[in-house]
Symmetry: C2
Subunit: 146 residues, 2 copies
DNA sequence: TATTGTTATACTCTATAACTATA
DNA sequence: TATAGTTATAGAGTATAACAATA
């Protein structure tokens, strides 16, 4: 049991989350022109979690399956993922990163890392990791309440 | 002088920032249908920083002035802001929240607060404030490096 | 001539709904 | 009949470029 948190703290957090849009736009501008944010997120999740079906991918991305379908089409047309038949279910295909996909993702990751390293050059490592941890928990807490 | 921060920490942070999109979408869904996120941000900034010209607003929002212009038109057409002539410069108008605008913003803030309070019900207050602080610093660090 | 702001255009993200194919 | 995925459509965010009005 804990004391009630003042509403002002939540208002402040909501404002800060809105402001983070600017950071996300800056990071998005570092992406290669043929890999916008949606497709880039597809590559990231497949790299982190391994091969999977479309429905699972949409769930991890927390966007509608129709949106995920278009982003997957994009990365498949660029040869960055393979869509193998699912032996157990003819309706599904198994999505898997190709070497080319891994290469593009490496380039994307490098650009993101460069941008963050430049922007956060004067941050102590503890603050970087603390922010990562708290953002991870925020995402989890929201997934469980919506 | 500090030790170099491993690139993996930045990669992790970039992934977490991408994931926060899901949280922002959830919060956006709580907005009233006649006040989408862009216009809502306009109201928030005018409430926080007081009356200002369009160019200043666009700067604070960190979006192009053309985008801000459309969002301002939206909130003005709903009567949520007034656009008074700038006595010193005929090209500009001074943007200012109206009582109706303050009322809408109050409703928006309440919905955001409710959503966050529900999602973060089990968070200690220190973590909520720490996340706010770090997000604020992240925004500042980016503004200064892009 | 330079600056402030508006508008047209284009691209991306997202969700809903209708549809196809398979279970 | 139910489920996985695709596609059409619509609404929102954003940036670039062309433009109008004023400094």
């Amino acid at each position: 049991m804990q004391a009630t948190i003042p509403a002002t703290h939540y208002e402040e957090l909501a404002r800060r989350l809105t402001g983070i849009g600017a950071v996300k736009r800056d990071l998005a501008r570092t992406l290669p022109p043929d890999c916008p944010p949606g497709p880039a997120a597809v590559l990231t999740v497949l790299d982190r979690h391994g091969e999977m079906r479309l429905s699972r991918l949409a769930e991890l991305l927390a966007v509608d399956i129709s949106v995920t379908s278009r982003h997957v089409t994009h990365v498949a047309e660029h040869g960055w993922i393979a869509r193998d038949a699912d032996p157990g279910d003819g309706r599904c295909r198994i999505l898997r990163l190709t070497p080319a996909g891994r290469a593009v993702l490496g380039e994307i990751t490098a650009r993101h890392t460069d941008a963050l390293a430049r922007a956060l050059a004067d941050w102590p490592v503890e603050d970087v990791t603390a922010l990562s941890t708290l953002l991870g928990r925020l995402r989890t807490s929201f997934s469980n309440s919506f």
